[in-house]
Subunit: 344 residues, 2 copies
DNA sequence: AATATTTGGTTAAATGTTTAATCATTTAAG
DNA sequence: CTTAAATGATTAAACATTTAACCAAATATT
């Protein structure tokens, strides 16, 4: 026995008013006496009316629905990245506080984004899109409220949130240097990324170079490995860097899970962290503190990053003017067991 | 310059037909000659028409939108659980293949679920709801297509997906026994859960008892610790169990991240895994293979579980009849470094 | 007292679809 | 040749809202 849903019309009839009046009460618009307003509110309460959002959306051309877009989410690789999960719980949390719902959407290069229009989405958050992706242009052309996370896009008009990645790269490198090492191996994300000068890893790479320069350590291309960001990538990079290792060497992996994989890989090759070599990661996912050895890393406040993104998005949607369209969140060095002073 | 969106009406005018005909072409319904159909299709293609899903939803009372509901998602605890992320990527992947979108929603006990009706959601997937939660009744009363994951609900009418948790508990325990231990500590999830006989951990607990019984090892309540499922929980449980440990003891933690925390905690107390004690986990999240020591665990195919759930949900939505409403996925023992034979 | 303004509402159009009912026209059947 | 059925399309209602335009009554202003 499916009971028909109660509409504004039913409420109006019962309250002996027009539907316009009910609508006005619902939206606190127009003029309606407190008396009738109360009567209507009571009936609404009693009968358990809830609005039909499709109808509302049709009329208003909005939806109170946001989309978090993760390029290539459906590729298995992403399952390995707790980073995203933290960001997304942050976003969901911020959105729900403001009565928005969140759609999670993976897209690929050839995908069409019509669903954004079709569903009257109020805004989107795009995580980690490449500067050169043809998706980027498509997204910008949508002209929807939008926030880009973890991308470094030149356009001043775009809203962007990321951590201070350059500082992170700098701090990490400097830490390793300060421990007495002068040969710092950098293991970064997806191949080609650094050269394409897009994304967070390039910024971290710049920080790396800055720290080297300040310490008057010559930069060498041979020490920068672009391996990918997964645990497996880290694992296999152990073999590749084995030849480079000596007493002066320390390793900076630009993701914690990559570092975990690397440590494991080194272990199997007979190299122990930190006694044989110091290794640090990046992100400070919650694992780092509980590994054996616990992992020195650059902390970014991931959950908060998600919330900042939603703040920025909602401000756009509501038309609030903002001083700054680009938010750069602080990072911090977290020293733990995986890095130790060079024992001459 | 915001250009007005093209509607079915515009297409109709341009093709010199009624809007009904265009609609029929769009939905492959009604009778329309291939000639006009082609003409209309061409214009649609040319002008880049895309439907207004709000209008459609209003008329059809559906949305091609699903919700994954995670009770208490917004509690920080969930950020620590890569398990969910894997499930959800599985769900999203399955949904997008069938042209559905996925909303991610956290809810709390007192929350109202009106959004499900309001948005005309086509179905929902609920992860890990408690048998005694008052949310459960609310959800069932919605009478929407629904799949419950990782809950053991008695109602035969409900669609459910989970792994064979009882077997998992059995296999893990049996493995430890087979290594020569006769005192098996069980560290499980949220306090009270086992006693309330709901959820996956209770099933695993039953398997644990079965394995003990088969081996004629007396069961003791003292060896079952209900600590919670996070890494921090595992970490602090180290202290609590320290008094119980002896040469005959092995530990079965009902989550991998809990096991990681425990191993770390034990380490800090001077107990090394596996040389001093064998520890195994549960889930086989991708970390397990890369930890040092790598973690013996019970593997469940998490991503696949998400996809199975979506299959079950879509079958309901499409009205396909199903032989079986309950899917129990296989589990497997994965022996790694964290458990070793008892050295008498 | 006459006029202007405010208050508290109503009417009706509009939003973009789907679909049942209807209607010509063409084809098939008797 | 007449009638029945099939084909291809149109009309108009319905879905649940919002909102601009309008209106009557009450109150304020001159």
């Amino acid at each position: 026995m499916i009971q028909k849903k109660i509409t504004i019309k039913d409420i109006a009839r019962k309250a002996n008013v027009s539907i316009a009046t009910v609508s006005n009460v619902l939206n606190n618009k127009g003029r309606v006496s407190t008396k009738t307003a109360n009567k209507i509110k009571q009936i609404i309460e009693q009968d358990g009316y809830t609005p039909n959002l499709s109808a509302r959306s049709l009329k208003n051309k909005n939806s109170h629905l946001l989309s978090v877009i993760v390029p290539y989410l459906h590729k298995g690789e992403f399952q390995d990245k707790p980073y995203f999960w933290q960001v997304i719980t942050g976003i969901e949390s911020g959105a729900r506080n403001e009565n928005f719902h969140v759609m999670l959407t993976g897209i690929s290069d050839d995908e069409n984004l019509s669903f954004i229009e079709e569903r009257h989405l109020d805004g989107i958050i795009v995580i980690g899109i490449d500067k050169n992706s043809n998706l980027l242009e498509k997204i910008i052309n949508l002209n929807k409220p939008c926030v880009f996370m973890d991308s470094y896009l030149d356009d001043e008009k775009l809203y962007q949130v990321h951590s201070n990645d350059r500082l992170g790269g700098y701090l990490g490198t400097k830490h390793l240097i300060s421990l007495g090492y002068n040969k710092i191996i950098l293991i970064s994300g997806i191949t080609g990324k650094i050269k394409k000068q897009s994304g967070v890893d390039y910024q971290r790479y710049l920080g790396y170079r800055q720290a080297l320069a300040e310490a008057r350590i010559p930069y060498s291309d041979q020490l920068v490995f672009e391996e990918g960001q997964t645990m497996v990538n880290g694992y296999y990079s152990a073999q590749k860097i084995l030849g480079c290792l000596d007493d002066n060497t320390a390793i900076f992996v630009l993701s914690d899970i990559g570092a975990m994989g690397l440590i494991r890989g080194l272990n199997e090759l007979g190299v122990t962290v930190p006694t044989d070599i110091s290794v640090m990661g990046y992100d400070d996912i919650f694992y780092t503190n509980y590994m054996v050895p616990s992992l020195t890393t650059i902390k970014q406040d991931i959950f908060n990053k998600g919330q900042k993104a939603i703040d920025l998005l909602l401000a756009q949607i509501k038309g609030n003017s903002l001083e700054e369209r680009k938010i750069s969140l602080p990072v911090e060095l977290r020293i733990r067991e995986s890095t130790i002073k060079r024992s001459r």
